[in-house]
Amino acid sequence: MSDIILSATNIVKSYSVKSKKIGKREQVQAVSGVSIDVHRGETLGIVGESGCGKSTLARCLVQLLAATSGSVSFNGTIITGLSRKKLRKHRREMQLIFQDPYASLNPRKRVGDIVAEPLRIHGYGNNEKINARVRELFALVGLDVNGLQRYPHEFSGGQRQRIGIARALALNPQLIVADEPVSALDVSIQAQVLNLLKDLQEKLKLTYIFISHDLGVVRHVSTRVGVMYLGELVELGDADSLYDQPLHPYTEALLSVAPELDDGTQSTRNRIVLSGDVPDPSQKPTGCAFHPRCPYATEKCASDKPAFVAVSPSRSVACHYPRT
């Protein structure tokens, strides 16, 4: 088996929306031309602000959304454009964990049945076998098996997220896409869930795609990190070197303003507070999408779109003037 578990080439996802002009429709690109490889056993973190397309990209990767163009191969097989039936055997290998543990569990089902559902759908075995597996999963994520007959509302946010994780693990997937899995949780509970995800990865040799807007969380869990801005990947690299020495001005600004514990003694931090807001994706700037807010932008940035190129074996960036 090769080192690359999932490979995406030039993924574009566009939506048709009502235009401001009456009766017209226009295309908005949520993801525009992202190519990325996911290595087996790694955690690929994807960061970006709301609306940058990180969730849309993740959904396109696991075929929860059909990309407008581009292809995705999983374990060497192209899975874009496969029929539902053919996709099914790949689906069990790629599972999702969602952000909101309140919305992602059916309130009318007992949690034991929620975790058993993927097993039933994929014909795991008879009831006895399924029940044993559900119990095993509950123990694996640190939940009390006595809670199997309860309903989701009887659990706290952190426990519900554990139920969601148990469901995702039910079919022994190779790849887990976690979309903001800890954003809805308090810090003390967030830390429990992050530690759990890490333990499970070691135990089950999982590959994660971890999406979050929280830079600290992404650094903590990721082996490699991709930074997205307005539907594009602007920087990709090893977590450590990307955080220590960001190359893209957007990454640099993001890192400089992330709130950090600060006792007032180190005033050496150089904050780069960007002006303006993230532009509307339907009115994407020409050239580099970041140039209107970039402190280092030149005329070239307004006219020429920088290519996403590798600057070292482990780092890539889309910028005419990467930081050094």
């Binding site: 602000e49 709301s50 706290s156 952190g158 426990q159 308090d186 810090v187 003390s188 509970i189 967030q190 830390a191 429990q192 992050l194 530690n195 890490k198 807007h213 929280d214 830079l215 600290g216 969380v217 650094r219 903590h220 869990v221 977590a239 450590d240 955080y243 600004a253 993001l254 890192l255 303003v257 992330a258 709130p259 950090e260 514990l261 600060d262 006792d263 007032g264 003694t265 904050r271 507070v273 960007l274 002006s275 807001d277 993230v278």
Partner: protein, 331 residues
């Protein structure tokens, strides 16, 4: 010592519910000095927002019981009638809410909303109020304020809306600004803009700020003094340097250890075992004891805040705190 601008003494807020009495705030004591930024940090349900709502008289449920004392400029404001409270609220004490979309009404222009507040508390004419509204919008960094003043909240982005809410809060030059999670709904880069703006305005207006947040990072960058709350009770109060550098309460250690850092990668995060206590069932003694790894017999008796400048509600003695804290940090 000069009298503090706001002093809260043993504030208790209880809701009588069908399931029993919920003590949302239980014995909160702190003060805010002139031009001081006090940060209140705690997880959901720790009582940080309820305590602020109660002191502004914004809790109107018939089943709420508010006790204690809140003095604003030396005057007791807890239990004031609606009319008297109205003259303080919005004028001397203003509030910024978490979600700018719900703090603004969608059916009036932002200019109208700012003018309403100015005219409710002052004697300005409609014309003067409009001019002041435009001035305020410019001050909070909204480009082209003369045009934007006519626009409606839905025409603004999240960060811009929060700027409008701040402009409203500042319209009457308040002495005290209460900001309840002002940046939680915003993206990191927008959050940075708003925090920078609040810092700048605090310097020009000289207001004191009470900043409520769940984010240890935000609080450590903004606050002069920090109040850590757990289960409606103050766990620790002290200056920023003291609380961040030498936290005294095991809950604060957990809170700080649980936050993933940008600069260094640790293999595991410190976790606080278990879940936050149910407000219906807060233990007799120390509220944090069931989750505390340093629990002792004495913890079944409720500790009061001990210490002078840097206070903590914990039974550990200072030598124990130092050794446990160092162990926690190196782990």
């Amino acid at each position: 010592m000069p009298e503090p601008l706001l002093s809260v003494e043993n504030l208790r807020v209880a809701f009588e519910t069908r399931a029993g009495v919920v003590r949302a705030v239980d014995g909160l004591t702190f003060s805010v000095g002139e031009k001081e930024v006090v940060g209140i940090v705690g997880e959901s349900g720790s009582g940080k927002s309820v305590s602020m709502y109660s002191l502004l008289g914004l809790l109107r449920e018939p089943n709420v019981v508010i006790e204690g004392s809140v003095k604003f400029q030396g005057r007791e404001i807890l239990g004031l009638g609606d009319d008297q409270m109205q003259s303080i609220r919005g004028k001397d004490i203003a509030m910024i809410f978490q979600d700018p979309m719900t703090a603004l009404t969608p059916v009036y222009s932002v200019g109208w909303q700012i003018e309403e507040q100015i005219r409710a508390h002052g004697t300005e004419s409609k014309h003067q109020a409009r001019a002041r509204a435009i001035e305020l919008l410019a001050e909070v960094g909204i480009p082209d304020p003369a045009r934007r003043v006519e626009q409606f909240p839905h025409e603004f982005s999240g960060g811009m809306r929060q700027r409008v809410v701040i402009a409203m809060a500042l319209s009457c030059n308040p002495k005290l600004l209460i900001a309840d999670e002002p940046t939680t709904a915003l993206d990191v880069t927008t959050q940075a803009q708003i925090l920078e703006l609040m810092g700048k305005l605090q310097e020009t207006y000289g207001s004191s700020i009470v900043l409520i947040t769940h984010d240890m990072g935000v609080i450590s960058e903004m606050a002069d003094r920090i109040v850590v709350m757990y289960a409606g009770r103050p766990a620790e109060i002290g200056s920023r340097v003291d609380v961040i550098r030498t936290p005294q309460h095991p809950y604060t250690w957990g809170l700080m250890g649980a936050v993933p850092r940008l600069e260094s990668k640790r293999s595991r995060l410190v976790t606080i075992p278990g879940n936050a206590v149910s407000p219906l069932d807060v233990p007799e003694g120390c509220a944090f004891a069931p989750r505390c790894e340093h629990r002792m017999d004495i913890c079944s008796t409720r500790p009061s805040l001990r210490g002078s400048d840097h206070q903590a509600a914990c039974w550990l003695d200072s030598a124990q705190k130092v050794s446990f804290r160092n162990r926690g940090h190196s782990a």
